[in-house]
């Protein structure tokens, strides 16, 4: 990212969308909408002071909604460009309310609430489509009860939980436990408030609330309005404290998740959704299980899959190492159902096809290795750019021209073409750059139209 942001030959138009493409190979005019950030790019230094002061909290999409960001934000720390953006759907000022705190805070004077979308036109020789993919939404699979059972998460959510810069600073706290901790925090805030009020009354009347309350209940202060208020306040305080104590007691038993289940082919190799294999998910699960074990050596993981496809360089060796040194068990079978057991523990029911037995097993957390879904915007983009998609909505190519779209001069790489892992994406990106360069350098190259 840094290299892209810094390269003199790269003009980076982030927060922008392609609206129109005209012309022909070697001579294309692209119309781009540069969406209003409400922040001047040339002034913003990315210092982040504005986000510290912004009063509006929004679920953080980068952390898969597991944490908060502000209405003025940068998508993630170290993002390029570091320019911040105001989310117009969330910003109080832009929604017509009184605020503007960010503008007051920004010492670079970069905030501009009057900024409008801009349309720019760019002349290019070739286009590379590298729009990536979407994570398949597993709530479409009723039997896995994603969103119903809190401790069932997607692989990408799990990735954030494992990350030192993520919402749990890398501890594998279970979502159900985090919910309780959030509740405790909320109640503690209330308790502190009511304690403060009680403290004043205690000082004024010279006795503790508990002592007073005992006497009050015995009928000592009948008719005393001041003391009646005190009694009400004390009752309200207790109604906070009692559940708080219960929750705290519960939270004492919380530990990080140590029994993990990884479920492969969630949405992939599934005729109801995507019949294709998403390619990278087997290794992603192995990697996540190995890292979880590095974080907490008592972690034991089970990976449920039909075939464990460890086909890249060093992958099979890595998979075996995971089994030998990171407590990973590989079970051949497709998980039939996830239910919720005691203590919010997900229970996985599956057929162990090697033992030919249906089994159920309880885990602390279940991780769904979701399919590589073609990105939603690709249908519209394909129309705008003028390229064909395949039956699943990946960009259509052929094996002998792996990065050429159906339209000359328009190329594709990465998961927009089909699911692939990092080294393959990097290699394909270079291939697409090669094809584009052939056109950029020679306006009309003799292109070899390979027919597959």
């Amino acid at each position: 990212m840094l290299d892209v942001g810094r390269h003199p030959n790269i003009e980076l138009l982030s927060y922008s969308e392609v609206e129109k493409v005209e012309g022909r190979i070697g001579d294309l005019r692209v119309t781009v909408r540069r969406k209003a950030r409400y922040v001047e790019e040339d002034k913003c230094t990315g210092c982040g002071t504005c986000t510290e002061k912004c009063p509006t909290a929004v679920p953080d999409a980068f952390n898969e909604g597991l944490g908060d960001r502000r209405a003025i934000y940068s998508y993630f720390a170290q993002g390029i460009p570091s320019t911040h953006t105001i989310d117009p759907d969330q910003c109080r000022q832009l929604k017509g309310k009184k605020c503007g705190i960010c503008a007051k805070t920004c010492q670079a004077e970069a905030i501009n609430f009057d900024q409008k979308d801009r349309i720019v036109e760019i002349d290019v020789a070739a286009i590379i489509v590298a729009v990536g993919y979407d994570v398949f939404d597993p709530s479409r699979i009723p039997e896995y009860r994603y969103r119903e059972i809190t401790n069932v998460v997607t692989a990408i959510e799990f990735e954030r939980l494992l990350s030192a810069s993520g919402p749990t600073v890398g501890h594998l706290d279970r979502p159900s436990d985090r919910a309780v901790e959030a509740q405790i925090e909320e109640l503690e805030k209330k308790a502190r408030k009511s304690q403060k009020v009680l403290g004043k009354l205690e000082e004024r009347f010279g006795e503790s609330s508990a002592e007073f309350h005992e006497k009050y209940q015995a009928g000592q202060y009948q008719g005393d309005q001041e003391r009646q208020k005190w009694a009400d306040k004390y009752a309200a305080h207790l109604s906070v404290m009692e559940p708080l104590e219960d929750l705290k007691k519960r939270a004492e038993g919380f530990t990080v998740a140590k029994r993990l289940a990884f479920i492969q082919c969630v949405g992939s190799r599934d005729f109801r959704f995507y019949p294709f294999c998403s390619g990278y998910c087997c290794m992603h699960s192995v990697k996540e299980a190995i890292i979880a074990h590095e974080h907490e050596p008592e972690t034991r993981s089970t990976i449920f899959g039909m075939d464990i496809r460890a086909v890249g360089k060093g992958f099979e060796e890595y998979k075996i190492r995971g089994g030998d040194h990171s407590n990973i068990t590989y079970v051949r079978g497709r998980v039939a159902e996830i239910t919720e057991g005691a203590n919010h523990n997900p229970v996985v029911t599956y057929e162990d096809t090697r033992e030919r037995k249906v089994k159920s097993q309880e885990f602390d957390m279940v991780i769904l290795a979701t399919a590589c879904a073609p990105t939603k915007g690709i249908i519209e983009l394909a129309k705008v750019v003028g390229i064909e998609l395949d039956q699943y909505n990946f960009v259509k190519t052929s094996p002998l021209s792996p990065v050429d779209s159906t339209t000359p001069g328009i190329f594709v790489c990465g998961c927009a073409e089909s699911p692939m892992d990092v080294p393959e994406s990097v290699a394909q990106a270079s291939s697409a750059a090669e094809r584009a360069a052939e056109i950029a350098i020679q306006p009309r190259p003799e292109m070899e139209h390979a027919v597959a």
Binding site: C277, T353, A433
Partner: protein, 566 residues
Amino acid sequence: MPEKRDEEIRIGVFICHCGSNIAGFLNMEELAEYAQTLPNVVFVQRNLYTCSEGGINEIKYGIKEQNLNRVVVASCTPRTHEPLFRISCAEAGLNPYLFEMVNIRDQCSWVHMQEQEDATTKAKVLIRMGVAKAALLEPQEPIISEVQTRALVIGGGLAGMTASLALAHRGYEVVLIEKESNLGGMLNQINKLGPTMTDAEELAERKIKAVSEHPNITIFTKSVITDVQGFIGKYQVDVETESGVKKIDIGVIVVATGGRTFVPEGLYGYDGRRVITQIEMESHLREGLDQDIKNVVMIQCVGSRNEERSYCSRICCQTAVKNAILIREQNPDARVSILYRDMQMYGVENEEMFRDSKAKGIRYINYDPAQPPKVDSKKVKVFHSLLGRNLELPADLVVLSTPLIAQEGAEVISQLLRVPIDENGFFLEGHVKLKPLDFATDGVFLCGSARFPANIRETVAQGLGSASRASIPLSKGSVVVEPIISVLADEEACRGCGLCVELCPYSALEIQHTEKGRKVHVIDVACKGCGICAATCYQHALSINSFTDEQIEAQLEAFLGSSVVS
């Protein structure tokens, strides 16, 4: 350079607030006052953002108006901002290597947010160290070396031909070397290419014709490289051809030597007739399958995913499925069973072909490597691990799916090019994730099954990709290298022991025989300035520009010297 020592050192220190990222946690006023007291410091300036236009102008103003000849910026991290500050110095007429950066944000204010006093003290020490080093900085000039715009592609298979054609299309001269008498590589042994069932022979012919006719491509068949001298942009390669050794000047090299199939001698009764490999199956299919063959059993992972060869060879499952479909096409009554461990039909097309094969009646039988199948005359016995019982499958033909293994001679090429190979004999790329087609050494690239088994789609993509990588130095015509590299600072001291040469990860050092005896020579364009050589040299003969022993000692002294008075 020494005359610089005589001039008065005038250091300007610019301390960045980074909004509140630094100023929110450190006492900036105190820092600025302290910086003023340091030796050689003549100018101190605090900036809200040193990286903003205003901050940059202050640096330029300082250089011009205050006659600064060293600039220190205490701010964020050199990772993101050093290039900007260096350029700014250069724009004001100061050699950009007379700039020193001090990290008081990432390594100070951010990590010590709770301890303002201690963090301020630490920032003072960091600035003191930076100033001490800055006083000793020397101007440097970037190293520029020409690149000969001719590429050498080693290997005339699909990967090498694709790379050659791409480079030739871009207008570069290409020398393509093939050790066999014909181009085409493994394509020559294959019948059809999955999943589209493209005719391999037809593809090979088309590609061979294209490379042969391209005016930018010179082809040497029955040829091997025997010697490689030089470095990126300036290689001299000896090519042993049928008509003698040719010496060729080369700018960049693409390794496309492919792989070869493992021959399963002694496994499952392999005899090349009734028990054959998939590559032999290809020629059976090309010639037309004997109509008497009614029962075919394929066994996967023969010679791979075992103790001896632990890797999965990636493409054998696809090959088996493809050939199984083709067998059924030729002999519609034939029963084909594939005995597998995991069906590695990754991705969209492979999985599609896999599904298709099931619809076409191919049987898949899962076996446990602990109970491998047994091949008898006319039948294969296998424990079906999902049914939980033994099966006896009639077999007129048994086809073993064996892995692709490293190419013969790969090791020799790796030694000639001074690039590494991995434990399986495949070439080892610069970074398994981020640099799949580069080597750590600049100027040498790789693609195809020389790196790891690859199918047709992947081979073509990598061929194009490696051409793209190789074209970067070619298109620039020169290589510009940051001068922060190793130099032989004390030639007398060097004993030519060669320890540094052994340790250099970039092949940037060599021993030369000079009048003064064996001496190390730094190939400056190849050096990355990592410092391993200088740190290792017993004689302190090697030094790294901008990280000299003297400069680092000065930093240490500044660190250990009198404690900061706050």
